[in-house]
């Protein structure tokens, strides 16, 4: 296609400098992801650690430690027990033996000799630490000298006993040397109880305190085995290396011990991995930065090298990346090119993690190892054949699944070029359980289970694995349809312990289980198991099914004469179903949950607040059906010209009057078509101008539902458009036409589209509508809803579903609610528009034009008097349809700021209190923030709800208390109350806002809210007297003519807001509606 003809080639000669620049810009990968690249560069700059300043003194300390260790006197082998006893007697230091401790009568001998090698490893040397890390550790490994080890030490924890003793000797020496300069304690390397290490935390000296740049770092002394000391052949992943049980009884089984083996292999590989990483660094310039990005990505998702953090941290990330740079392709070629940039490497690794689920399929680097598949039941496998190490040995199947899931979410975000990629990937903290899981359960076991398992992983691990397997079987059964998309188990991290104590016996600490629903499947109340057919295979399947589900399983006949094993659950909501199933299976198989407080379930607090029920849908359907009836009733009316008509008069005023005539006619026709069922009333709008819509028709059905009809005339829009464009018209008229046009479009164009879209989305996302209700409740509770349109709230919630990054769309009301709050807390509405791609095909150009529009608004109106929030959809790109009303911003800047502040407080609370949070706390309004509280008399408000066409309210008011007023009067006289044009409390507040728009900002929640909060405008206090006062002012005594003096013209009279007079006015307007006006500080 591009075979350039001769002519064209000629043209190409004249390439000038700009062309070259253009081409280079296009070729250097400056594409849609450029913003992301620039942002990550900035991120790398801001998290980079200034090693010289931050870890000042670390090098000196390391040298000193080396010196001390080298100076320790070697000693001849002694029996373990004796050596430990001596050490304890002399230095009061315990040896941190792993569990089970060596037997008293055992005859292993332990000795001490100078380490074969000292080496500083980890992110301190690779300089990939960042400022926002939780803790900064400098790792120093000491290679145990070969002479104190024996080849057979790989068996039955013997190496680990020797290692523990070796560490204790070093600890003793260092404690003597460092004294009070540093705090020494034991900790477990990555939460692995086999490998205690010594942590040295320098005591902060005064000089360091002054210099804030210095971090609290600690040095970890890690003893390790010499590379290649143990016979490699014996240390294959399937080996069984612990053959004795706890009590020393020979353990007959030859169960593989992959965790033990991997730990042992890892002990010998410190230096070879150091080499691998160094090589990668040398080979690939961007390697370090890619590691830092990985560290941040993992850290924000709660991942870390520690077993309790999922066992996949910076080290694992770096090694994986290094391995992919070395090989990884089937033919041993490098999977990744060394010339990639850091963001490209990051994306590539995310891509790799998102397609490789090593909990389900072993991932092998190097020669294919066939027997890995069989070992998968012990945990995920990420096997480095060269060094024989399963890099994922610290991970559980759940953390591998979670990592996989996060990588998939991140990848889908990276594929979405329109969304903000940077913040969800690197900035947002996404490890708060309430944001991530729909149900969180805690298992609290008092009794420690007896069996520790052969693999020396501890009881917590043992329990976690069992719980996970059972829950996975129960909740993620693919045959029946996965109820849960993700099951995660979180154990608690093990703390450090002092040198003088035994490592705490690994007691069972609470397990936290997080479950992410599939909202459709989780709502299923009947599970259909395998069909009970005659074939042997079917029989076996049924047998297995029954074995797992026990009594719960029963045979049922379904349509098309299939008979199946079936489970019937009694709960109705997804949450309750999940809880029911969990409690059932855990109780059945593990006998957990027998005691009252063994399982605690969290996450249902929010929906319970509103008592959201699945049956609510039915109610909504009734309303929808009623609307259908109305539509049909209107369509069935004869002689009603219901098409778009060209006969509308060419005058706005006339159009409005014609509409009234129409409404009167429709009302009459409807009533005569169904005289017993329908009552209609034409109501007048509270309109200011003749050109506005003037009337509506209330249609009341005898059966309950009522509707309000307004008439849409196309001509009205074009007439208004013409007025807006008419440059000869007066400014105020054009302004008015603009406002009317906006109202028109909102009511007749945008609102129907919006309603339709939200209702379709409600079917697409089952959790959407309960979330919207919850969020509206939150706005109500904080008295914000008076300032917000419901459509805005709906769109804000919808945004969380349409752009759910870094997660997937929320699958329950509570995650939806929490993430909406998170969004509101983070949304910088001053500079960011909220853009919803409601069409699914919004182009980048459309988006950027929306952003440009916001910028333009901010330029014209920097104080945000007219436009504050900017919410655009594909159908409504103007961005202000739902955030301005009658030319006023809704909400104003003050209120929008308050919304953000409240959302921030709420998310902070959620983060700090975690799952224990009492959700009601999020809905408690802080009344003390308001200057004035107007308490409405709910009885009086209620009494205003009913009015009658024939009763004059004034007379009625006077006749109150007379005995003629019976409760059953309505029925007897056949009087029917008029419909309510607008809720009286709302109307009252609207009048107050209109009268006191300047000095007071009012706050009120939903219809039932009987307390109006108000805040004095701080910008309206004392001022000079002018004829046009913005509100009621009183003269300031004594401060008259303060700035006057020499020339008489400078005389100024000060006045200040007459707050009491204003409140007294409000009391007069409200009269019996107001119980009390409460003033802060009074």
């Amino acid at each position: 296609m591009d075979s350039a003809p001769a002519k064209r080639r000629k043209l190409n000669h004249k390439k000038d400098a700009t062309d070259v620049a253009l081409e280079s810009a296009a070729s250097t990968g400056v594409s849609r992801s450029r913003a992301f690249v620039l942002e990550t560069e900035e991120l790398l700059d801001s998290v980079r650690l200034d090693y010289g300043a931050a870890l000042e003194g670390a090098d000196d300390l390391l040298h000193r430690i080396k010196g001390v260790v080298e100076g320790i006197k070697a000693h001849e082998p002694l029996p373990v027990a004796e050596a430990a006893f001596k050490l304890e007697k002399k230095h009061k230091i315990k040896v941190p033996f792993p569990d089970p401790r060596p037997q008293e009568n055992t005859n292993y001998k332990v000795a001490f000799a100078k380490p074969a090698q000292f080496n500083v490893v980890g992110s301190y040397v690779s300089k990939t630490m960042i400022t926002t890390q939780k803790s900064h550790g400098v790792d120093m490994v000491l290679v145990l000298p070969q002479e104190i080890l024996q080849e057979k030490d790989y068996l039955a924890l013997r190496y680990f006993y020797k290692r523990a003793y070796y560490l204790a000797v070093i600890a003793a020496a260092l404690q003597k040397e460092l004294g009070s300069e540093a705090q020494l304690s034991y900790e477990q390397l990555n939460g692995n109880h086999l490998c205690p290490v010594l942590a040295i935390q320098p005591t902060a000296s005064n000089s360091r305190d002054l210099d804030k740049k210095t971090l609290d770092y600690r040095i970890r002394i890690i003893p390790c085995a010499p590379d290649g000391f143990f016979p490699k052949a014996k240390l294959h992943l399937g080996a069984s290396l612990i053959r004795k049980g706890r009590e020393g009884v020979a353990n007959a089984s030859t169960e593989p011990t992959p965790f033990y083996t991997s730990t042992l292999v890892a002990e010998t590989c410190f230096l070879s991995y150091l080499k691998v990483l160094k090589q990668a660094e040398k080979k690939c310039a961007a390697f370090k930065n890619a590691c830092i990005l990985g560290r941040i990505w993992l850290q924000q998702r709660g991942f870390g090298g520690d077993i309790s953090q999922g066992g996949f941290g910076h080290f694992e990330w770096a090694v994986l990346l290094a391995l992919l740079l070395q090989g990884g392709e089937s033919k041993g070629q490098a999977a990744l090119s060394a010339s990639l940039s850091s963001t490209q490497l990051f994306k590539a690794l995310i891509q790799f993690l998102s397609v490789t689920n090593f909990a389900e399929k072993p991932c092998d680097f190097g020669s294919g190892n066939a027997d890995l598949e069989a070992l998968l039941e012990h945990g995920p496998i990420l096997y480095d054949s060269t060094r024989q190490l399963n890099i994922a040995f610290k991970m559980g199947p759940w953390s591998a699944a979670l990592l996989h899931q996060h990588a998939r979410w991140t990848r889908s975000l990276l594929a979405d070029s329109t969304a903000d990629q940077f913040n969800p990937i690197f900035i947002l903290k996404t490890d708060v359980p309430s944001h991530s899981y729909d149900l969180i359960a805690r298992i609290n076991l008092d009794k420690a289970s007896e069996e520790t398992g052969a693999d020396a992983r501890g009881q917590t691990w043992q329990l976690s694995t069992k719980v996970y397997r059972i829950l996975k079987r129960a909740l993620a059964d693919k045959e029946m349809g996965q109820r849960a998309r993700l099951i995660h188990i979180q154990a608690q991290a093990r703390p450090t312990w002092p040198l003088t104590e035994e490592p705490k016996a690994p007691e069972t600490s609470p397990l936290e289980i997080g479950i992410l629903f599939d909202p459709v499947n989780m709502a299923r109340t009947v599970d259909r198991g395998p069909s009970a057919g005659p074939s042997a295979q079917e029989k076996e399947e049924c047998e297995r099914f029954r074995r797992f589900w026990s009594d719960k399983s029963e045979l049922r006949r379904f349509e098309r004469d299939t008979i199946r094993e079936t489970l019937i659950w009694t709960s109705t909501t997804p949450f309750d179903l999940c809880e029911e199933i969990m409690r059932y299976v855990l109780g059945l198989h593990l006998r957990i949950g027998q005691l009252h407080d063994e399982i605690t379930v969290y996450g249902n607090g929010l929906p319970a607040l509103l008592s959201l029920k699945p049956a609510d849908t039915a109610l909504f359907n009734v309303a929808k059906k009623a609307f259908g009836t109305l539509e049909r009733d209107i369509r069935d009316l004869e002689d009603l010209p219901l098409r778009a008509s060209g006969k509308w008069p060419e005058s706005l005023v006339a159009i409005q009057r014609t509409k009234i005539a129409f409404l009167l006619m429709i009302g009459r026709l409807l009533e005569s078509s169904k005289p017993t069922e329908i009552k209609t009333h034409v109501g007048l709008e509270d309109a200011k101008y003749e050109t506005e819509n003037l009337a509506f028709l209330d249609v009341l059905y005898e059966s309950g539902p009522s509707f309000r009809l307004r008439i849409h005339s196309d001509l009205e829009e074009s007439l208004l458009e013409r007025q807006v464009k008419d440059k000869t018209a007066e400014q105020y008229l054009r302004q008015r036409a603009t406002t009317l046009l906006a109202t028109f479009r909102r009511l007749y164009t945008n609102l129907p589209l919006h309603g339709q879209y939200i209702s379709t989305s409600g079917t697409r996302f089952p959790a959407l509508s309960p979330t919207i209700r919850l969020v509206k409740h939150w706005f109500n509770a904080h008295k914000l809803s008076y300032h917000f349109t419901e459509e805005f709230i709906e769109l804000a919630v919808l945004h969380v579903f349409l752009t759910p990054y870094p997660w997937d769309a929320p699958t329950s009301a509570s995650t939806g609610f929490h993430r909406t709050l998170l969004f509101l807390a983070h949304w910088d509405w001053r500079s960011e528009p909220l853009v919803l791609d409601t069409s699914g095909e919004m182009s980048a150009a459309e988006r950027s034009s929306i952003a440009t529009r916001l910028e333009a608004w901010r330029k014209i109106d920097p104080n945000m008097n007219h436009t504050v929030l900017f919410v655009a959809t594909a159908q409504e790109p103007s961005g202000v349809a739902w955030t301005t009303l009658d030319g006023q911003p809704k909400p104003s800047k003050v209120v929008a700021t308050r919304m953000t502040a409240l959302a921030r407080t709420a998310t902070r609370l959620v983060r700090v209190q975690g799952v224990e949070l009492d959700c009601r706390m999020l809905f408690v309004p802080s009344l003390k923030d308001y200057d004035v509280l107007i308490h409405l008399n709910s009885k009086a408000v209620k009494s205003t709800l009913k009015t009658y066409a024939t009763i004059d309210p004034q007379e009625e008011g006077e006749s109150l208390g007379r005995p003629t007023k019976f409760k059953n009067l309505d029925e007897r006289t056949g009087l029917e109350p008029l419909p309510l044009a607008q809720h009286p409390a709302e109307l009252f507040l609207e009048h107050l806002s209109a009268a006191y728009g300047g000095p007071l900002v009012f706050f009120r929640g939903g219809v039932e809210d009987s307390t109006i909060g108000a805040i004095w405008n701080p910008q309206m206090q004392k001022r000079t007297f002018k004829i046009n006062l913005p509100t009621s002012y009183k003269p300031v005594a004594g401060e008259k003519r303060s700035s006057g003096g020499e020339d008489g013209d400078g005389e100024e009279d000060y006045v200040e807001v007459n707050k009491e007079a204003i409140l007294s006015e409000i009391a007069r307007i409200g009269a019996d509606l107001i119980d009390k006006i409460e003033v802060k500080g009074a």
Partner: protein, 324 residues
């Protein structure tokens, strides 16, 4: 209580005490500011009227009448016009019925000054007709904007003098007049509060016959106006204007073209042009080349934009640090 200045600028300060209410049990003083009325465009009654600012939100003519009666006795007060009402009057002078006149209709009417008198009569009659077309009000009583103004018309010039004197006196005696519904004649002012809101709801659903009558009156009036307008337009087709030009208007013998028709025609023309344009894009090679160039320039511009945005973000600190 420190003494309140009696005069601010050229306004006399008129303090008014407001009795306590159950929901706000406090004695409150409200301040009105009063001066002689001298608007920019003088009117005949300026000499005997007063200009008030900062009238209470719940003011009605009855309230002001009572207030002035307490100052100078009954019989001096004639009427009061509030800020919002004056604005209304202004907007009503623009006929609410904006029949789609051709833009030039107004001129010939003015030109024929002979008809002036007859037209005046017509206007009078039309006013009456328009009143019949008005929709019933939905409120028994309006509220004023806080801090708004009013003009009070008194019986004569002397009364103005007396009122100002009386105001000055209140500062000496410290006996301020009282505001409130309680000391107003019974039944003259409809109450606020729940009764007010209930009355509003009731008035919002007016009697069907009455509504129909008002709409009918309107349609009749509107039809006539439209007819008149059409006739004028028709007449204009053959009449030269003052510069001797005859305006050429589109439309058949029966009626001139309506504006919608004209717009429709314009839209069609534009569509045609658009279509032609579209057919010819990417037709010549130079067009392709130019487009490519434009795309590249766009790319470069976007790159610069991003850089600039980033710069702006950098200014806001803390944007690039991961949350902890």
């Amino acid at each position: 209580m420190p003494s309140v200045p009696a005069i601010i600028g050229d306004f006399s300060v008129l303090p008014v005490t407001v009795p306590p209410l159950p929901s706000f049990p406090k004695n409150v003083v409200h301040y009105l500011y009063v001066r002689r009325n001298n608007p920019k465009i003088p009117t005949a009654t300026d000499a005997r009227s007063l200009f008030l600012t900062n009238v209470p939100v719940d003011s009605t003519e009855v309230h002001l009448r009572a207030l002035f009666a307490s100052l100078v006795g009954a019989g001096r007060f004639e009427s009061a016009t509030f800020e919002d009402e004056r604005k209304d009057a202004h907007s009503q002078s623009h006929s609410p019925i904006d029949v789609a006149h051709p833009a030039h209709v107004a001129r010939p009417q003015q030109a024929h000054s002979k008809k002036r008198k007859r037209e005046d009569e017509e206007v009078e009659r039309a006013r009456g007709e328009e009143a019949a077309t008005r929709l019933p009000s939905t409120w028994t009583r309006p509220l004023r904007r806080s801090g708004s103004t009013a003009v009070v018309l008194l019986a004569d010039e002397k009364s103005v003098e007396q009122v100002l004197k009386a105001i000055a006196k209140t500062h000496k005696t410290k006996k301020y007049p009282t505001w409130g519904d309680d000391n107003l004649p019974q039944g003259k002012v409809s109450p606020l509060g729940s009764v007010w809101l209930k009355a509003h709801n009731r008035l919002s659903y007016p009697d069907r016959q009455r509504l129909q009558a008002s709409v009918d009156a309107f349609s009749a009036l509107f039809a006539r106006r439209e007819q008149e307008a059409a006739e004028i337009a028709k007449r204009l087709r053959n009449e030269p204007d003052e510069d001797g030009f005859v305006t050429v208007t589109r439309g058949g013998r029966a009626a001139p073209a309506s504006r919608t028709e004209a717009e429709e025609a314009k839209r069609k023309m534009l569509e045609k042009q658009e279509k032609k344009k579209e057919e010819l894009t990417n037709f010549y090679r130079f067009q392709l080349r130019e487009r490519k160039k434009a795309e590249q320039a766009e790319l470069l511009k976007k790159f610069e934009d991003d850089r600039r945005k980033l710069e702006a973000l950098r200014v806001k600190r803390g944007k690039f640090v991961p949350e902890s």
